[in-house]
């Protein structure tokens, strides 16, 4: 579901510009499948699928496959439209050093939602 996240993000000039000060690695967990995503100057420069022994990342988003599948629909069902909607319902857990995430929240929300664009094709 996130195989093409790099090209989806990097081809969006406005999104890259919004994240131009972002330099971090974050993790997406789909059930027990972990992926590290490296961001530099707003561009995704590396996507590394797990498993990992000692993953090094700033923050991670954990949810079940079923939740991510609904979240990544082009028009998600009610309650699945936003990360905070999932967190509020305890369907997603965001943990780690949240400073890069919160300081660039509009950027990361669109980065993490980028697979919706592919689903819409």
């Amino acid at each position: 579901m996130i195989d093409n996240i790099a090209s989806l993000v990097n081809s969006d000039a406005n999104l890259v510009q919004r994240g131009r000060f972002v330099d971090t690695t974050f993790m997406i967990a789909i059930d027990e499948a972990y992926t590290l995503i490296r961001v530099q100057e707003g561009r995704i420069v590396k996507v590394t699928p797990g498993p990992f022994i000692t993953p090094d990342y700033s923050f991670a988003l954990h949810a079940s496959r079923g939740v991510w599948e609904k979240y990544w629909q082009p028009l998600p069902p009610l309650g699945f439209t936003d990360i905070f909607a999932l967190v509020k319902q305890k369907l997603m857990r965001v943990e780690g050093d949240l400073r890069p995430f919160m300081a660039n929240l509009l950027y990361f929300k669109d980065v993490i939602a980028a697979p919706r664009k592919e689903a819409a094709r």
């Binding site: 028009l75 009610l78 919160m102 929240l105």
Partner: protein, 281 residues
């Protein structure tokens, strides 16, 4: 496009509010039954510009919206630099009543969204006789915090951007882009700590769950409108208030937490039947 003025008039009102001199920015349009509009946390009265520019509303209603102290073009009271802004239920109720009195409004309709949708429940409980009717947009009796509010005001995170980022998902995904981003712009312009100070009321002090059953809608009619995509004030929370009070509630399709600014024409289509009922009271 040929230049044109909107029918909205904005002025600054000097008054004593909560025991202190204040300078408040007040906008209005239309004539008829006074309709006092209350903006959401960390935003301002611009949210209601669509309503104020809709002749179907302003033909019968004098639509008034003010920027709360600390918000929009209303200054915080002198000495603000030595205080932490924190909205309480007591101050919020007093503020609305004192502004209505200062404007000489005779039994206005009060309509508020989010924190405003909560405070109309407090008004319904505490002073229903002061109002012709109350309209709660995105009303919930309580909302538990679902993120750490301290992120909203700290020097290493841009306050405007994080506040807009937090609320961005509350706009319906189906909303027009212009409405979505104008709504977020208001949040980006909020003063430091103001959204967080409002959320003290929204998530802590303003909990009215224990008093909803005491609201008597015969003393003042209560109408509830909630956007289906709102996960902060949920449809379930609104319908619970309706069930417990007998108030009329409508869940609005394709709208979120900011119906009046994210898609004004769609919102007005839901509001007009309510306003017709109020005119017939």
């Amino acid at each position: 496009m040929s230049p044109r003025f909107e029918p909205i008039i904005g002025r600054y009102l000097h008054l004593d509010l909560l025991g202190k001199p204040h300078r408040l920015y007040v906008e209005e349009a239309g004539a008829g039954i006074p309709l006092l509009c209350l903006h959401t946390a960390g935003s301002d009265a611009r949210q209601y510009r669509g309503l104020m520019n809709d002749a179907r509303v302003t033909a019968y209603f004098r639509v008034i919206a003010f920027d709360m102290p600390w918000h929009g073009k209303s200054s915080p009271p002198a000495g603000w630099q030595a205080t932490d802004y924190q909205l309480t239920s007591r101050d919020y109720v007093r503020m609305i009543v004192e502004v209505a009195d200062a404007l000489g409004l005779d039994k206005p309709v009060a309509m508020g969204c989010s924190i405003g949708g909560r405070i109309v429940l407090h008004l319904a409980h505490e002073c229903p006789e002061r109002f012709r009717a109350l309209i709660g947009l995105e009303s919930a009796a309580h909302t538990e915090p679902y993120y750490d509010l301290s992120w909203l005001n700290r020097p290493d995170v841009h306050g405007g951007m994080v506040c807009a980022g937090v609320v961005s998902g509350l706009v319906a995904p189906t909303a027009p882009d212009a409405g979505r981003w104008e709504t977020l712009w208001h949040y980006m312009q909020s003063g430091p700590g103001v959204f967080k100070g409002d959320l003290h009321f929204y998530m802590i002090d303003g909990d009215i769950r224990g008093r909803v059953d005491d609201i008597d809608i015969k003393r003042c009619p209560l109408f509830l409108l909630t956007g289906e995509y709102d996960y902060s004030c949920t449809s379930e929370a609104t319908l619970d208030i309706a069930k417990r009070t007998g108030a009329e509630a409508v869940i609005m399709k394709d709208l979120g937490h900011f119906p009046m600014s994210e898609d004004p024409p769609k919102f007005v289509s839901y509001l007009l039947p309510v306003l017709e009922k109020i005119r017939a009271l």
